[in-house]
Subunit: 142 residues, 2 copies
DNA sequence: TATATATAGATGCAACTGCATCGACATATG
DNA sequence: CATATGTCGATGCAGTTGCATCTATATATA
């Protein structure tokens, strides 16, 4: 069993094309509004959801689907930008704890309307909620 | 009209997550089999479909969704690897024609089984053809 | 306890990307 | 024709990524 059917190929092509176009639309909007890329948003959101104790970098990396070194460097930039705090981890001498700063929260909050507008225009306006749910459900099987 | 509904958000999240995971799976398979990235495959396929006359770089860029400078550099690498031929364009002194070489054809052909296996395992095995078609159809509305 | 193995995170290096801009040719306009 | 504007493709530069590897600490094993 290895030949793929036409529908599988069509799904793959559409998946690649649309995800790229949508992602680029979001990135462009954020950038032109003077905000950081969406990867920063994702990280900030995870850190905010994690609460005041924050997360260890290795926990964050699993949630934002970034490689270890990518996460390490993303955090460097975010620390430098003052959006997150890094402190040595008490329980594990190798590790650290990352928590979102007030500035980080406010940047995330400010990014959301930009982000949301693109999703609304590009997805909300094109798919009825039922169809969007159906799309999410099909994707979740992959 | 700007608040997004839950289904839209779920669709977006699933779209981003799955497309990244699948893409990475394909890239990893290709790389570990010693082949170039998927962007090369896409370009080779478009050039092969275009026939012996090939394509102008600006035409190719529209089909593979790469920025102009990205296409320019991708073509440099592919020329250097001997997968495509570049020749000055007769009708337009600014331009060039890119055509796939025999080696390019054979590399593309060799990449396909690797590529296909991932799609088959990750999509074909998870979605019935009807569902895959449905997924493609929903995505096509975006 | 001493040693081996595993895990957390950082980093040097080469490759790749985005941005802005350039040079060359093409097309439109006076 | 002369000049302005537009399009094609390349490229310098700075920032980012992937890979491999390193250091430091933690955990398992003898």
């Amino acid at each position: 069993m290895n030949e793929i059917d036409h529908a599988t190929e069509a799904a793959w092509t559409a998946l690649m094309t649309k995800s790229r176009v949508l992602l680029e639309a979001v990135e462009t909007s954020l950038k032109s509004a003077g905000y950081p890329p969406i990867a920063w948003y994702d990280a900030l959101l995870e850190l905010e959801k994690a609460g005041p104790d924050g997360l260890r970098p290795f926990e964050l990396k699993d949630r934002i689907l970034l490689p270890q070194y990518g996460t390490s460097r993303l955090l460097n930039r975010m620390v430098k930008a003052g959006l997150v705090n890094r402190q040595d981890c008490l329980e594990d001498g190798r590790g650290q704890n990352i928590s979102i700063s007030e500035k980080g929260k406010s940047v995330r909050r400010a990014m959301w309307p930009i982000y949301e507008r693109v999703l609304s225009e590009r997805i909300g306006a094109k798919l009825k909620p039922k169809d969007a749910a159906q799309l999410a459900s099909l994707l979740s099987k992959l």
